[in-house]
Symmetry: C2
Subunit: 429 residues, 2 copies
């Protein structure tokens, strides 16, 4: 074993960073044996140096992250600050000064992954980011290495623990969205401002990263259709149950049937209770992958939290350190397929639509005509009437999102349709 | 991209080999893009050259596998023959003549993994074998790379599809073992001689491989306790249901509570219906991994079959080819921890024991005394009597297997105990 240690700098020492530092210390011998050389924590950049950080020697702490990544003697920089800046500049600077980078920064990778990969390649260094998607669950490595000889057609996943906790709570207790969110906040699963989670921004960033790797195509955050889950109601769950379904916020990356384009989207959807993703409870994450040869695979585990995320960061750290010792680099960006990313209108799936309608003869015929005119074929209709009002629940066969939007627009114009109570996609069948 | 192709030889062209050859041809462009150089099928060693193999050019087929691996111009040898010899000699010869090796051979790796890894290392070549455990499910790579910065404490898995199909059938239909086996045979899930599957030899080989990687310790097939599932009865399933459990044939690799030793075992066990492994149906495989930092992870997918196994082989092929191009090697054997492998007697778990006893007063007291004398604490007892005979179902708290064996031996000597109807371990709680 080499005795000169590999030098690692840590950018950020919050929930994840402090766990990374702790494990680097407590598991130092194991890490050295697995890497083939000891690893040394060479510096820790923080915003508030006064905060006591157990296990992090005070003389390693600095507020000058830029000076740290410019030192020139670093082998690896671990970035767990999050957000776009200063993370982006620090990572680029780290590459320019000879370090490889391990990052957990989904927002940055979804937005600027291509540029960061290019910076890594120009400098002959590695950019690893297993922790950016689904926390501890090995997903990036299986997708870009284990399935490198296969053709992935679909990635369907629960990649945000906060929203899964809320939806699971609504499903199991009948609570409304606000009540379930309040509980998630009280228990620390949701942040004070839950927008990034409940509006699907976090999941959309992960979908962009997953789609890019799965389809060997650049997929940016802007390419991902995004719909949050704040409008999911207890009534939606009741409808889902009647269909033998539950509701999950899903990230869905698909290759079109003809193979010539891909789509990426995040939205709440009904999935059958028999689907393995339906039984993913609480804040857990799980990702279902369908490929030509392997068939259906699922990866399940904790999608967030200090220790689980640190596990993913450290797995990358070991790999990157091993590459440093052998003078090689791991797989970089693979975007050779360069498939076009189609808009949401091209997505083909099934829909569950609840309409409030006038309770009089001929309404169903009118509604059915609108569906037919837009080439949306109806699978089942359920009509329920009370007090002169009625509801009509329509489940369609597979149709394009554009056709469905056209249908809904036309339905809204019917005198007999008082309102469209909910539209939800049905997935995983 | 390099234009000179990497040369790959295929040893064996059965169900898996022919899929590997097919995908190498149909996905040639994708593989080239992902590797950075084209790959060329340079030879295929088979036993029966007369058999028509679609997509495999006749001039590549040879019966002289030894000459093929000695060619000296091969970059990678893919071994999908199975069994100990001639696979072992061919792999060693391939290393000596400069090739890296991708193998799907669980029996050989469980028996001679250390020697094969040593041969790879001596020659500066790779030995990859993702396909050896749980078919298409990425498991070896996540364990030895993604979790390289973590400490794995437990691997608990369904790693044999044939036995899972049989047990699932018994569970869902109430069928007996023989009836379920007959159906598995008729459907092609069980081989004409099902011994390797139903007696747990196949799962034990996989347990040895998984334990070795998870604990950075050499674990040989002989170190794995093995019990088949041929004696599981419909009555056992009825008992399991009463406990809210089902029965699975599990491969279990555990680090002892003090961390200083490990165990590996394969046997049927009751697991709670709420455990994610309980809902693994048919011939699917799933492996649950528990580690210090990541927590609980699960990997699920098809555990066998030509295309799924080929997916795993090709993922390895891409990785090994990339290593060839960069002049590096991937992670080799990691056995630095060298923990002792404890015998089955040291395993601590819970037990479900059914006794046929005389239906008279005092029997329960006698039985309870025997448990107490052997330091096995009883959790619950259920007594059922009919026609002068009675059955006593005892579920214990956690105890060592040695204590339990002592208890059972003593119970058999009691006049009032007519027989021990079944003993089953209870896992996953």
């Amino acid at each position: 074993m080499r005795t000169r240690p590999l030098k690692v700098a840590l950018l950020g020492c919050g929930v994840v960073g402090s766990e990374v530092a702790r494990i680097m210390t407590t598991h130092a011998d194991d890490l050295a044996a697995r890497i083939g050389a000891p690893v040394e924590l060479a510096g820790v950049a923080v915003r508030r140096p006064s905060k006591v950080r157990e296990g992090v020697p005070a003389d390693l702490v600095t507020t000058d992250a830029t000076a740290l990544v410019k030192r020139g003697d670093l082998d690896v920089v671990v970035e767990v600050i999050g957000g776009i800046e200063p993370a982006r500049t620090l990572i680029t600077t780290a590459f320019e000064h000879g370090a490889s980078v391990v990052s957990a920064n989904k927002a940055l990778l979804a937005q600027d992954g291509a540029a960061l990969h290019a910076a890594a390649e120009e400098n002959g260094r590695d950019l690893y980011y297993e922790a950016a998607v689904a926390g501890a669950i090995p997903l990036i490595r299986p997708l870009r290495e284990s399935l490198a000889g296969d053709k992935v057609n679909r990635v369907l996943g629960i990649v945000n623990g906060t929203t899964n906790f809320i939806l699971d709570k609504m499903d199991s207790t009948g609570a409304g969205y606000q009540e379930a969110l309040d509980e998630a906040t009280a228990l620390g699963y949701a942040e004070a401002d839950p927008t990034a989670d409940v509006e699907g921004f976090d999941a959309a960033a992960k979908a962009a990263i997953l789609a890019g790797i799965a389809f060997h195509t650049r997929v940016r955050l802007d390419d991902v259709y995004r719909e949050g889950m704040t409008e999911v109601t207890a009534a939606d769950f009741a409808s889902a149950k009647e269909m033998g379904c539950t509701i999950k916020l899903l990230a869905i990356c698909e290759r079109a049937a003809d193979g010539d384009s891909v789509t990426a989207r995040v939205h709440p959807a009904m999935i059958p209770l028999t689907h393995p993703l339906a039984s993913v409870r609480g804040a857990y994450n799980a990702v279902f992958v369908e490929s030509d040869a392997a068939g259906q695979l699922m990866f399940y585990g904790p999608g967030a939290g200090g220790a689980p995320t640190a596990s993913a960061v450290l797995g990358d750290l070991v790999a990157v350190c091993r590459n440093r010792l052998s003078g090689a680099t791991g797989p970089g960006e693979s975007a050779y397929a360069a498939l076009p990313v189609s808009p949401m209108g091209d997505v083909v799936t099934r829909y569950h639509i609840s309409l409030d309608v006038a309770d009089k003869p001929g309404v169903l015929a009118q509604v059915a005509t609108v569906f037919a005119e837009h080439d949306v074929s109806i699978d089942t209709v359920r009509q329920q009437g009370k007090d002169g009002e009625a509801s009509l629940v329509v489940v369609t066969h597979r149709a394009s999102d554009a056709s469905l939007s056209g249908t809904v627009e036309a339905l809204r114009k019917l005198d007999t349709v008082r309102g469209v109570a909910s539209i939800m996609r049905v997935e995983g069948e």
